[in-house]
């Protein structure tokens, strides 16, 4: 413990990251560049989210870490124990008890509160990257609000699949100004991006931070004749019976029997308690 500064990063680094976070909150959805640091874990593990979490944590915080809704994956467990060790903060799996939640690919089902911070791990922050690989060009498109490209992506989806097939990382317009990538959360979660909590997005490899202040307007992009739908698997959780939650389809036995289960394991457990 004494080998590290509180929450691993040194104070000047945290200050630099906090400055990027504040800038991101001031311009919702805008990707703020920051000098990403080496973390003692590989990039795929959410080093962007980890750095944002490190910059936000105070000794009084209670941290929850989820990976696709679950608290018990290797990734979630490692990050949780990392911060328990380098920051000595309390940890929890209960959404209601956490003050900071780091997430990969989900928004918890339990409605968040205004005293909570949700930190997303982001692999690719640039929603325009799909059609425009040049960074200089995408930056100009954001600056000039030229977002026609985003609709080409959706157009291609409908042309090829008959419907908008984008199921994850569904692009949305933030505060009527910046189109952003909400990270690979299922599009089921998009409507819940409008939240009382502060939401911060960290991309380590791409060195970007962006943010949604509480109650920011987030409009998922669509066409008039193909409106956005927050779809999910049509079924009920085999454990708690919920039909309103985002469900994972799992293979239950060697015969290949499939069943659904809440992807948010804490929420499911709470319903059964």
């Amino acid at each position: 413990m004494s080998d590290y500064n509180f929450a691993y990063l040194d104070e000047p680094t945290k200050k630099m990251i906090r400055r990027a976070i504040l800038k991101g909150l001031a311009v919702p959805g805008y990707q703020v560049p920051f000098a990403s640091r080496e973390m003692p874990m590989p990039y795929g593990w959410g080093t962007g989210g980890v750095q944002v979490t490190a910059a936000c944590l105070t000794p009084e915080d209670t941290l929850k870490v989820i990976d696709q809704g679950a608290d018990d994956t290797t990734n979630a467990v490692s990050i949780r124990s990392f911060f328990a060790k380098v920051a000595g903060v309390a940890t929890t799996t209960r959404t209601g008890e956490a003050s900071v939640i780091q997430t990969r690919h989900r928004i918890p089902e339990t409605p968040l509160r205004s005293d909570q911070i949700l930190v997303y791990q982001v692999p690719i922050p640039e929603p325009l990257r799909f059609l425009e690989p040049r960074e200089t060009e995408t930056r100009r498109m954001h600056a000039l609000e030229e977002y026609g490209l985003m609709h080409i992506k959706l157009y291609e989806d409908i042309a090829r699949h008959g419907a908008i097939a984008t199921a994850y990382a569904y692009p949305a317009l933030v505060n009527g100004r910046h189109v952003f990538d909400p990270s690979p959360i299922p599009r089921f979660d998009n409507p819940r991006l409008e939240s009382p909590a502060i939401q911060l997005f960290g991309a380590g490899r791409e060195q970007r931070i962006y943010a949604l202040p509480p109650f920011t307007r987030v409009q998922s992009l669509d066409f008039d004749d193909h409106p956005f739908e927050a779809s999910k698997a049509d079924g009920a959780c085999a454990l708690c019976g919920a039909t309103h939650t985002y469900l994972d389809e799992i293979v239950a036995d060697d015969q290949g029997t499939r069943r659904f289960q809440c992807s948010d394991t804490d929420y499911c457990m709470e319903r059964r308690a």
Partner: protein, 261 residues
């Protein structure tokens, strides 16, 4: 009204270029180019390789920075427009047709997406209408609408060029800039493309600046002709007049059709 009558009438030019100059370091790209283009008029630009034709066109389109001069469109110097306004103009009122279709197309997007891009950029949000318009335009450029979901990479060179034209014309622009649109196509494909272009220009009343090496293109399309050399305009006038009595050595060669293409 003939072009001659029109150009001496009181009608205002659509495009008025003055003193347009661009250097590459100390080398001249184009220098002190001036001309007026009237509504519905087609101007051909010819000149030997390296004479500054592409440089001029790129400066007009704003693809290249200009060192001096004005490009007045509808009474406004587009070179001094704020970038958002200029870019909006370029994707609504103007169109650019590149020599190489892949420079003007999104090769990883379907034909329909390519044609629909400018509509969506302009705020079109009805998929069915965008698709219908794209189908209409494919038909107008003689591409089977059944190929709407194919990518341009699956198209022949001539089809790609026609798709590029549809993509540009879908917003009903007034001004089209073309840099050797028939270059690199074989002769029969060229002829068909030219025919198509001529029809579109007439029906849509387009004003066009077209760079070419091809005397056939000039004869078929251009009302007026401008000859460039070393970055400067050395001869300029009604096409028939220039071709009947060419003053400049290059123009004489062009008329005698002994130029390599």
């Amino acid at each position: 009204m003939s072009i001659l009558e029109r150009s001496i009438s009181a009608e205002a030019p659509l495009l008025s270029v003055n003193g347009l100059t661009r250097f590459y370091g100390s080398r001249v790209g184009c220098q002190n180019v001036a001309f007026d283009l009237y509504p519905g008029e087609v101007m051909g630009i010819v000149g030997e390789s390296g004479s500054g034709k592409s440089t001029l066109l790129s400066c007009l389109a704003g693809h290249l920075e200009t060192d001096a001069g004005q490009v007045v469109y509808n009474g406004q110097d587009v070179l001094t427009l704020p970038e958002p306004a200029r870019r909006r103009l370029m994707r609504t009122d103007w169109a650019f047709v590149h020599q190489h279709a892949r420079d003007g197309l999104r090769m990883n997007v379907s034909a329909g997406g390519n044609v629909g891009e400018r509509l969506m950029a302009g705020g079109a949000r009805h998929y069915g209408n965008i698709r219908k318009t794209a189908e209409d335009w494919l038909e107008r450029v003689e591409i089977d609408p059944g190929r709407i979901d194919d990518r341009p990479s699956a198209f022949s060179g001539g089809m790609q060029q026609r798709l590029q034209i549809a993509r540009g014309l879908v917003t009903g622009p007034k001004l089209v800039l073309m840099d050797e649109p028939t270059g690199g196509l074989d002769v029969s494909v060229q002829a068909r493309l030219l025919d198509l272009l001529r029809g579109l220009v007439r029906r849509m009343g387009l004003s066009v600046v077209i760079v070419t090496h091809d005397i056939g293109v000039v004869r078929l399309l251009a009302d007026r002709l401008m000859v460039m050399r070393h970055g400067q305009v050395v001869e300029h006038g009604l096409t028939d007049r220039v071709l009947d009595d060419p003053q400049h050595a290059y123009t004489q060669l062009l008329v005698n059709s002994v130029l390599p293409t």
